[in-house]
């Protein structure tokens, strides 16, 4: 606990070197250290999106040739045939079709940067949202008492200290379970809140800010002193962010939704080079028990938002794409059979999306057997054939160079499935 962070070790110069007057001290320190180039290294960023509520993987990435599915979903079945009444699925490989509202994903799937893993899920068969999310985020599907979240452990395994307080950022109002743990991380829904502020009295806030900075600088508590300093450095850094007038690169247009705003701010942090390595955002509304719809309706709107937001972010990243991987996750899938209210109930396996230039994309990975009853888990659900930890750890391994599965996912001894390159 003597030194919580080695701010001087990375990042921050490109943008702040030019700022006069309010140059954060760690930037100044880093500038002095620039003669030692090994210390200044560009970091990779992993962006995780949790789809809360359990996405119907069978509708997002549809095994449309499966006659069992057609029989089980009289009004929810979708076809890849090009007929006039409904938009067809986007045929990915002759077997799986992408929901037409996810058309934004087609280009990255075709160019090989988007991978899909189907049949992914947890070995714990709970169908409770809470339990399944809890297990997925702690990364220990049979242990509730794990104090830390897997992304927090990932940060601890990066092998270097944080460059700034923004090493791990969750764009949520409170810390998600994935981020619980000893590694410092920030939960914030709006980067503009990262300041000393007093409603209706900016001058007062300014004055107070100076006083606070001075007070925290002299306190005898090491923890408060250090964190105080980091906080004010961070404030100065973010002072330059203008979320309202942000211009995304390459004409990318973020949907004006919660996820769109979260990803836009993550993009800003990445571009500011503040040492962001693990980012987290959420997408809601996936618990489609009632009338989930097909080409239109709630499910279509959800997948449209998800894919449009991710693709806006990806376009905005432009030349930075090499350093970024996006991964979605959801706690479980939904029943093969549609229910009595035009929806689907809690099931087992779902699918997830991984986007990045080091992804082994253009493929639907994993194993989806024909949806005959004998192949289903408990006779009703798409069986889990790929442990989520296998995919999460492969992404962490290949993208963030974390090679300690024992610590990242204690109790797990599976294999990677090759959804990343190399």
């Amino acid at each position: 606990m003597t030194s919580r962070r080695g701010f001087l070790k990375a990042g921050g110069i490109a943008l702040f070197g030019v700022g006069l007057g309010g140059v954060p001290s760690f930037v100044a320190q880093a500038a002095q250290m620039i003669q030692a180039p090994a210390l200044f290294k560009k970091r990779k960023t992993l962006v995780c999106i949790f789809q809360r509520g359990a996405m119907d993987g069978l509708m997002a990435v549809n095994p449309f040739t499966d006659q069992y599915l057609k029989a089980a979903r009289p009004t929810l079945f979708m076809s890849a045939a090009k007929n006039a009444t409904n938009k067809p699925l986007i045929d990915l490989d002759g077997r799986f079709g992408l929901h037409p509202s996810m058309a934004a994903f087609e280009s990255v799937f075709k160019d090989g940067s988007l991978a899909i893993v189907h049949g992914i899920g947890s070995p714990n068969s709970t169908r409770s949202h809470f339990d399944a999310q809890d297990y997925m985020e702690s990364g220990t599907p049979f242990n509730k008492g794990t104090a830390s979240g897997w992304l927090n452990r990932a940060v601890g395994l990066l092998g270097h200290e944080a460059a700034t307080p923004f090493q791990a950022v969750s764009m949520t109002s409170s810390l998600p379970r994935s981020f619980y743990g000893d590694q410092p991380s920030v939960a914030i829904s709006n980067l503009q809140d990262f300041a000393i502020q007093l409603k209706g009295n900016p001058n007062g806030a300014n004055m107070a800010s100076k006083s606070f900075e001075d007070l925290y600088d002299q306190t005898s508590s090491g923890l408060l002193k250090e964190t105080g300093k980091e906080s004010f450095d961070a404030v100065k850094m973010l002072d330059k962010i203008d979320t309202k007038n942000y211009k995304a690169a390459n004409n990318a247009i973020y949907p004006n939704t919660a996820l769109g705003n979260a990803l836009k701010q993550i993009a800003q942090l990445i571009k500011m080079d503040v040492g962001l390595e693990v980012a987290f955002a959420e997408s809601g509304g996936w618990d489609t028990h009632f009338n989930q719809g097909t080409t239109n309706g709630i499910f279509a709107r959800n997948v449209n938002d998800l894919s449009e937001c991710i693709m806006a972010f990806w376009t905005d990243m432009g030349t930075l794409q090499d350093d970024v991987t996006v991964m979605t996750m959801t706690e479980f899938g939904r029943t093969v059979k549609q229910n009595g209210t035009g929806g689907t109930d809690h099931g087992r396996a779902s699918c997830n999306f991984i986007l990045g230039n080091d992804v082994n994309g253009g493929k639907v990975h994993g194993l989806v057997k024909p949806l005959a009853i004998e192949n289903l888990e408990d006779g009703r659900d798409l069986a889990v054939t790929t442990d989520f930890r296998s995919v999460f750890s492969e992404v962490a391994d290949k993208h963030l160079k974390i090679n300690n599965d024992k610590l990242l996912f204690p109790d797990w001894t599976g294999k990677h499935i090759g959804m990343m390159k190399g």
Binding site: H129, L198, G204, S221, T341
Partner: protein
């Protein structure tokens, strides 16, 4: 300078204290009470009283120090340990909250989960199932609301809101401060979470009936009470845990007399059979068994194995919630109970205590072995009681629990010598929490200089200590809860059974720290709706002559008995800025802040509070006048005073206790 100030200040506060508390009759006859060993540690009586308050209350004012001194430190502590001091004004305040005393059954009737409401509305024909997610959202919501109104149902959010409001008020105003501090401690130790839908609605009663009445008792009572509570049974899934019950499967055939007596034989047999099928759908769930060992009693290094966990889970099969509604699996059990009759079930080993049900038919009847203790076959409900009692009294538990207490009440790294003493008392006195705390406070380690102000306040502690110190009048407690959430402690929503970590590093991170400072500024500037303070009154309506005087005076009021020379030195330059008054006036003209010393807050308060905009720009011309007038005097300017106080609340020193 420091000594001088203190000498100047002491007689003054003593005088105030004596006047203030002269109405209290203090019984000094309490003899045989050993003095707390603080003198050896070099603490003065006042420092010791403050330390006691910092450890066992949510924050202290100068008067509180006087009160503790007058009462006697030891006696004050003894009184706190009873948890039975009169709380009339608090009761009065809480009387407006009409649902905080509902039973779990009542809550379950009135506040069903959202999905349940929808299902019922469809079943009862209020909503067409085809319209869900399709129809106009507004119309749909109106229909749902109409259904809820007709059926007397209410949204759960309202229940949680009242519950949280009462929590804030209780912590702020109760005279039984230690009881509240311990309620927080034990709740966090036996954490349950609103994030888990199934247990959420039972949390108010969990804190009220399971935690609070047991905070001073024997530790085993807490373990047993939490084990049987709906909140915990749902949170850690034990409600669904079932084992192989050999008796039930053979009994209906082997012992036909029992079932085939009445005309309803077939119905009963069918009901039991159905129940059995129900059980078969579920299996053993180890979650609670694991966490009761790892987190509630022995601790992760407490010397148990996975085998012990599985065996303990079997012991606890059948421990479930007495069904409260007709839906789902609970409905089947409820029907069965109605059909078979409770007395018949009791004969078969069922136990029904309040919300708790021991469902004998789901209990694993085999022999079990946990931590070397053998539980012979067919032990029934008593097995679980024996197991939990055994765990509660285990030496590993003594170590684990006393360390957690010491971390809470002494420092993040309590000395081993102290832990040994506390642990010994725990074992000698059968886990008596009062005795353990008494041992702790009688130990020199408790009073050591290293322990003074060594704890970082949690966001909840920070907020409550601030409103206590400033003597705030709270009409909208939830506004404070929102700030506490912003500062990183969304109370009752911590997802993991570990509870919030009790260490400074967890609370102090960049985003959270900035919000602590912002909280101080907002509170002092009266920008938190429904939380009023009167800064002038805190200083007996004496107006400090200068910003410097304000700084000195209010620092002492907010943080008594501390060496604040450095803080004051650091803040003085800000105040001596020649441009200061201009800057502040400019700031003030942009934002009209209600004059803290005026009495514009009156019976209309509540109505005003409910509209945030009204607070920022009061339409009341009198209010405006008061502010303008205040601005004219050199320092009667409340914006300036608020600024000073805000900075003090947000200062590093105020983050510690």
């Amino acid at each position: 300078m420091k000594t001088l100030l203190k000498y100047f200040y002491l007689p003054f506060v003593l005088l105030v204290g004596v006047l203030f508390f002269s109405s209290f009759l203090v019984d000094k006859s309490d003899k045989g009470q050993a003095s707390f060993p603080y003198k050896k540690a070099g603490l003065t009586d006042r420092q010791a009283a403050l330390h006691l308050l910092n450890r066992f209350t949510y924050g202290a004012k100068t008067e509180d120090i006087d009160f503790v001194l007058k009462t006697g430190l030891e006696k004050w502590f003894q009184q706190q340990l009873t948890g039975k001091l009169a709380d009339d004004s608090l009761k009065q305040m809480l009387s407006v909250y009409d649902v905080i005393n509902l039973s779990n059954q009542e809550v379950s009737n009135i506040y069903p989960k959202g999905a349940q409401v929808l299902r019922r509305a469809i079943k009862d024909g209020y909503i067409d199932k085809d319209s869900v997610n399709k129809a106009d959202q507004k119309e749909y919501r109106n229909k749902l609301k109409a259904y809820m109104d007709d059926k007397g149902l209410k949204p759960q959010q309202e229940l949680f809101r009242q519950f949280i409001n009462q929590k804030i008020l209780r912590a702020t105003y109760t005279n039984n401060q230690l009881q509240e501090v311990l309620t927080d401690f034990w709740f966090n130790h036996f954490n349950v979470s609103i994030t888990k839908n199934d247990c959420a609605m039972f949390i108010p009663a969990y804190e009220r009936d399971v935690i609070r009445p047991n905070v001073f008792g024997k530790f085993e009572n807490l373990v047993l009470a939490t084990a049987k509570s709906p909140a915990m049974l749902y949170y850690l899934d034990n409600f669904s845990s079932a084992g192989t019950n050999t008796n039930l499967e053979v009994q209906p055939k082997r012992n036909p007399a029992m079932l085939n007596q009445t005309v309803n034989d077939n119905m009963k047999a069918a009901a039991l059979q159905k129940l059995q099928q129900n059980r078969k759908n579920q299996g053993l769930n180890e979650n609670y068994a694991r966490e009761v060992m790892e987190l509630h009693t022995l601790g992760v290094d407490g010397g148990y194995t996975q085998q012990d966990v599985t065996q303990a889970a079997k012991v606890l099969t059948g421990w479930t919630v007495f069904p409260m509604d007709e839906e789902g699996a609970g409905g089947a059990i409820k029907k069965m109970i109605e059909k078979v009759g409770e007395s018949k079930l009791e004969e078969r080993g069922f136990i029904h205590q309040g919300d708790f049900l021991f469902a004998a038919n789901r209990h694993d009847t085999g022999e079990k072995n946990v931590l070397g203790k053998r539980f012979t076959a067919n032990g029934g409900y008593e097995e679980g009681v024996q197991l939990l009692t055994m765990l509660a009294k285990n030496p590993s538990t003594a170590k684990f629990i006393t360390k957690k207490l010491a971390v809470r009440f002494v420092s993040d790294n309590p000395p081993q010598s102290l832990l040994d003493k506390m642990s010994k008392t725990f074992l000698d006195k059968g886990g008596d929490i009062k005795m353990v705390l008494t041992t702790m406070v009688n130990s020199p380690e408790f009073w050591s200089k290293e322990a003074l102000r060594e704890k970082t306040k949690s966001p909840f502690e920070l907020a409550i200590s601030a409103v206590r110190t400033l003597d705030a009048d709270i009409t909208q407690p939830f506004q404070l809860y929102n700030w506490i959430t912003k500062m990183g402690q969304k109370m009752y929503y911590y997802q993991a059974p570990t509870g919030f970590p009790d260490k400074g590093q967890y609370w102090i991170n960049t985003g959270a720290l900035l919000n602590r400072m912002n909280f101080g500024l907002a509170l002092a500037a009266q920008k938190i709706p429904g939380v009023r303070i009167n800064l002038a009154k805190l200083n007996n309506n004496h107006e400090p002559e200068s910003p410097e005087a304000a700084l000195t005076t209010y620092s002492k009021i907010i943080m008594p008995e501390r060496d604040l020379s450095e803080t004051i030195k650091r803040l003085t330059p800000m105040l001596s800025d020649p441009d200061l008054i201009n800057k502040v006036d400019k700031a003030a003209s942009n934002a009209v802040v209600p004059n803290a010393s005026s009495t514009m807050m009156n019976a209309d308060e509540n109505r005003l509070m409910s509209d945030e905009n009204m607070m920022v720009k009061p339409k009341d011309p009198k209010g405006k006048l008061a502010v303008n007038k205040a601005k004219q005097s050199s320092f009667g300017n409340n914006t300036m005073l608020a600024q000073v106080v805000g900075v003090i609340i947000g200062s590093p020193e105020f983050q510690r206790r």
